[in-house]
Amino acid sequence: MPATSSPHTPQPAGTAAPGEVVLEAHDLVKTFTTGRGGLGRTRVSSVDGISLSLRAGESLGIVGESGCGKSTLARMLVGLEVPDSGSISYRGRDVTAARRGDRRLLRRGVQMVFQDPYTSLDPRMTVLEIVGEPLAASRTGTRAARRERVAELLSLVGLAPDLMERYPHQFSGGQRQRIGIARALALEPEVLVCDEPVSALDVSVQAQVVNVLRDLQRRLGVTLLFIAHDLSVVRHVADRVAVMYLGRLAEIGPTATVYEAPAHPYTQALLSASPVVDRARRGRMAARIVLDGDPPSPTSPPAGCRFHTRCRMAREDCRTDVPSLRRPSEAQERARLAACHHAEDALTRLEDVFGPA
């Protein structure tokens, strides 16, 4: 379906040509200080030097374990959190500093879909108010015009417009998530950052939301940043995938490449550990790469490669040198980068991941 099929179809804010970089993050760093319980403060290194670029119309998936900084990254990208260092630029304009005009630009261009459909909608507002809030707050259009627009947005995400007088608690999780998406679309953003939009949903409902998002991308040409911890969902949605580990990028590249030939030992372990609905693989548990222990605490991340404490291929240099994100030599895929000193080695041991064919 072409992006401008009907006069009612909302237009993305910008008119970036497909493939042009719309949102770019450079070397983002975010450290939180927490001071709970009165005893001393601890510093949590949440995101540590992440660079990304999003091209118009593409969808980038981000996967990683809990606490690796996915949400923090997403919140920085939409301007909810200000990075300690690094820069974010939207359509070439630096929007890192929290200047009013930049904030407005970012707000118009980049919007977010939240993880929990239950707490991300104000229970005291009707759907009309929720979805129309970005418009009402900026006093865009008349009341009637806004109403019409909300109706449009609702049908866009597959909800009957006559439901707009209802309150959120009268909807199911999947429907609520779609209301959240409609709200995010109200300002016609170019980029939609989705922070685990389906993890709080029931299996049977997840597919509905995933389909809506994919459909929006196709119809409106919205750029998607899709965060999830379910590898199979990401694979389904994303054109490119980034794998995060403890605040850093481990690997990034086209979905197919990363899933089929992971070059980072962590990606390999992740893929290997994910259960897949495939009875044929049953009983191979013993053959999998089972990582020892748990992710280290982000309060005191390991030196060198942050994965070295759990990595089966760790050597001396991994303990001291921080691996940079690089293209593994001899790899076929040019767009794939991995942050591992021994990515080449890892690529030769792929059968550990999927088992002997």
Binding site: D202, V203, V205, Q206, Q208, V210, P275, V277, R279, D294
Partner: protein, 324 residues
């Protein structure tokens, strides 16, 4: 373990809410049965009822409930209590909130042991160390006095499992033991459970809503929908040839490598509110196979094949379609 006709009803301000209706379950020694179902379908309520830990406002009834040759229904409250943790035990979903934050891990395991056996404090502690070692906590003897918050999520779950197997129970009920964990840790825990089951020859009832997990570990599978078991069978068979439209839809709605690029198959609507379960077959409003009959008559769970039960008027057709 054998359960027949288990029903649980909650009394609420807005009238009684039946959450579990007539569930039959069997778990044999050494066998891992997965209970699959979406949120709110009554899985946890079933497990609690089996443990004898119904909520204050719950009323449960069962035709039969026995553990080995013990009739659980005939037991007094106190006898039932003594069974808990001893012959049947439970692993909770959220290990952080299930462990008491102000008591040391050793203390909590000790409490459990001393509640059932006549053990000295010291011996209980020694046993606690042993258990922690068994579930793979490094430096167990040092860490036995530590508090839950000092362990990572995976370790906490291991400790919970350690508690559950402390007295080598016959039956282990694991209520979504891995949902809160990362995939890499989930793999460790599932492996641990599998190992212990084999070593101790336990019956395990694993509750989950993750089809992937079911597919990896289950010997047999029971699928729950709106408080009832709608399909039951061996893992291989059920996952390969679902006989209930719900199971079938569930399987196809999961993104799979083969379906890349295509839209996912969706199940319209959402799981029913247990207060207002549709008449007839509870799944009919969402079912693409639904016929007039489904609206009126509730299909019984009947054996459609050896070792295979399904509660659908059109089971045969569904299986057939799947095979095509």
């Amino acid at each position: 373990m054998r359960v027949r006709g288990l029903s649980v009803e909650f009394r609420t301000r807005r009238g009684p809410v039946p959450s579990v209706r007539g569930v039959d379950l069997d778990v044999a020694r050494g066998e891992l049965v997965a209970l699959l179902g979406e949120s709110g379908s009554g899985k946890s309520v079933t497990v609690r009822s089996i443990m004898g830990l119904d909520a204050d406002n719950a009323r449960s009834s069962a035709d039969e409930m026995r553990l080995g040759d013990t009739d659980l229904l005939a037991l007094s409250d106190d006898e039932r209590r003594r069974l808990r943790g001893h012959r049947m035990s439970m692993v909770f979903q959220d290990a952080l909130s299930a462990l008491n934050p102000v008591l040391s891990v050793g203390d909590q395991i000790g409490d459990l042991i001393r509640a059932h056996t006549d053990t000295s404090r010291r011996a209980a502690r020694a046993r606690a160390v042993e258990l922690l070692e068994m579930v793979g906590i490094p430096g167990a003897s040092r860490r036995v006095g530590d508090y839950p918050h000092q362990f990572s999520g995976g370790m906490r779950q291991r400790i919970l499992i350690g508690m559950a197997i402390a007295l080598e129970p016959e039956l282990l009920l694991a209520d979504e033991p891995t949902t809160a964990l990362d995939v890499t840790v989930q793999a460790q825990i599932l492996e641990l459970l599998d190992r212990l089951r084999r070593e101790l020859d336990m019956a395990v009832l694993l509750i989950t809503h993750d089809l992937g997990v079911v597919s990896e570990v289950a010997d047999r599978v029971a699928v729950m929908y709106a408080g009832r078991i709608v399909e039951r069978g061996s893992g291989d068979d059920l996952l390969a040839r679902p006989a209930h439209p719900y199971t079938e839809a569930l399987l196809t709605s999961v993104p799979q490598a083969e379906g890349l690029g295509r839209d996912l198959v969706t199940i319209p609507g959402s799981p029913p509110n247990p207060e207002r379960v549709p008449p007839g077959c509870a799944f009919h409003p969402r079912c693409s196979w639904a016929v007039e009959d489904c609206r009126k008559t509730r299909p019984a769970l009947i054996e459609i094949r050896r070792g295979r039960d399904s509660a659908c008027h059109r089971s045969q057709e569904v299986v057939g379609a799947g095979n095509e």
